[in-house]
């Protein structure tokens, strides 16, 4: 049976929708706050993405601020991360320190990863997922 993990932020509409999709479509998932994401998990996820850790980060400060209206400290990093000033390692360190920079939802079984809510990707990813184990002896 596959184990799926959802990293989300409550009150983020895209996270809430993804969570509702999983629940209402009968896909069990372990739900964590995006703030609980660790350096080790950031590594696994970033390795799965074409442009690495950058792909996990809000593309601009406007979108970051819509979802995190009160977070000021993190804002300056958004530009830095996308400007190419930082190494991949440095970006990963920053994300471990400031997980709010990471787009939510993130849905993963640590083999594939979906960043953000995208209905079509959800539907194709969960096409053959086993949700209940009834094969035990």
């Amino acid at each position: 049976m596959d184990k799926w993990v959802l990293y989300s932020k409550t009150g983020n509409p895209a996270s809430d929708i993804a969570k509702a999709w999983l629940k209402n479509n009968g896909i069990p998932s372990e739900n964590y706050s995006i703030f609980q994401i660790k350096r080790e998990q950031i590594d696994i996820l970033a390795d799965l993405l074409p442009s690495g850790a950058k792909d996990l980060v809000y593309p601009n400060t406007f979108s970051f601020s819509m979802i995190n209206p009160q977070k000021k400290t993190e804002k300056e990093y958004i530009h830095k991360i996308h400007s190419g000033e930082l190494t991949e390692e440095e970006i990963r360190d920053i994300l471990a320190t400031f997980p709010a920079l990471v787009i939510s939802p993130i849905i993963t079984d640590y083999k594939t990863v979906l960043v953000g809510y995208d209905l079509e990707k959800m539907v194709s990813t969960f096409r053959y997922v086993k949700v209940k184990d009834i094969s035990m002896a």
Binding site: D16, I17, A18, A20, W21, N24, N25, G26, L119, V123
Partner: protein
């Protein structure tokens, strides 16, 4: 005596004196009729359904029509994904209700007519004559694909449904019969018990196409449908009555459906509509369903497309009863004047919203003469319960 007279004489609620009959639609499926992620206490479970049915019986509603769904439509709400199957649902509801008329909704391709007719006779026995049948041919392809068959081509679907219904009617009325059609061959058909209600369970269907209306006119008692305006309601009703009489020499009624957002002020009602339809609506499901109904974005204005989607989200495309009790009652009275027999209603949150509607809209419908006040009869058990509760000494 006509068939409708026989129903009336038997005291069937679907044929009572109320000019505007009321029922609800889809309390057995998740989200009922609203395609939304808005907060609601509603759950498609038995406990909630019993609670709703009791409220309805106290207020004098006529019927409950469940939705038959074998999978959800997708989207974040996976609209209608969680669904209590309607025959088993009706059997259990029959055992715990007293007055309200219940329906099973049956996809004809998913079940053999002999199984269906016998299950209905059984529920008829449990309910003491309060079960009817809503036949659907199955229009949601992903759902019908699960039953190994492809969704039948539209007209063929109705030919199949016609034979299916003919077999059911024979099972209910004949003994030792043979039937040979293109789809079914029954040898020496036999069934006991027969339905106890007179003349038989009420039959309804919701076809709007030419074939769908023909099927309704030929075999059922009520054609269910959406209305676009009061004029459209009138035309549709007249058309159905004429079609049934001219082609099949029989009577038929029409029945529609709508959703209710009723609040003390118009502002509150509209604000709530904004919240659950425009802000929290499951727009992807609305798109999926609009696509299935062929509501194309290329050939329609933005305004039309938005309204169509909003109506689906609000309550399955039904009539919008949004406003104060006076405004809601006024719309309902108008509908009853078109000749339609009644309307199903849906609420986002039945348990929370229905009491306000019952207390504030129903009296206005009674004043207008389109419904009769409910006789508050006290059953012997109820009197016993009240007296025990009131007069039993407090246990310390």
């Amino acid at each position: 005596m006509s068939r409708f007279d026989a129903f009336r004489e038997a005291g069937n609620p679907m044929f009572n004196d109320n000019q505007l009959k009321l029922g609800i639609f889809g309390p057995n499926v998740s989200n009922s009729c609203s395609m939304t992620l808005a907060n609601t206490s509603f759950k498609p479970d038995f406990e909630t359904n019993v609670k709703i049915a009791k409220m309805m019986e106290d207020a004098g509603y006529e019927c409950i029509v469940p939705v038959a769904r074998w999978r959800g439509f997708g989207g974040a709400s996976n609209f209608n994904g969680n669904c209590m199957e309607t025959y088993t649902w009706a059997a259990a509801m029959a055992a715990v209700t007293k007055k309200i008329y219940l329906f099973c909704t049956s996809h004809v391709p998913t079940m053999h007519p002999i199984v269906a007719s016998k299950m209905l006779s059984t529920i008829d026995e449990i309910s003491k004559g309060r079960i009817g049948l809503n036949t659907v041919t199955g229009w949601f392809p992903k759902e019908m694909d699960m039953f190994s068959g492809k969704k039948m081509e539209h007209d063929k679907g109705y030919e199949y449904a016609t034979e299916w219904m003919e077999v059911v009617l024979k099972m209910w009325s004949e003994q030792f019969f043979d039937y040979k059609g293109d789809f079914f061959e029954i040898k020496d058909g036999w069934q006991e018990p027969k339905p106890s209600q007179s003349p038989r369970p009420v039959l309804i269907s919701a076809g709007t196409s030419k074939k769908g209306r023909e099927f309704s006119a030929r075999l059922t008692d009520f054609n269910f449908g959406y209305i676009e305006s009061m004029e459209h309601a009138k035309e549709w009703t007249n058309h159905m009555k004429k079609l049934a009489w001219d082609e099949f020499r029989r009577e038929i009624n029409t029945f529609t459906t709508g959703f209710v957002v009723c609040r003390p002020t118009e502002k509150e009602a509209k604000e709530f509509y904004d919240y659950y339809v425009r802000e929290q609506g499951d727009w992807e499901v609305a798109n999926i369903i609009c696509d299935m109904f062929g509501i194309e974005s290329s050939s329609n204005s933005i305004d039309f497309l938005t309204k169509a989607r909003e109506n689906f989200i609000g309550g399955w495309g039904g009539w919008a009863f949004v406003g104060t009790p006076e405004q809601v009652a006024d719309e309902m009275i108008k509908i009853s004047k078109t000749g339609i027999s009644g309307t199903l209603v849906s609420f986002l949150d039945y348990v929370e919203e229905m009491p306000y509607f019952n207390e504030n809209v129903l009296p206005l419908l009674e004043q207008a003469g389109v419904r009769k006040p409910v006789k508050q009869e006290e059953s012997p058990e109820e009197a016993e319960r009240i007296s025990t509760e009131l007069y039993s000494p407090v246990q310390v």
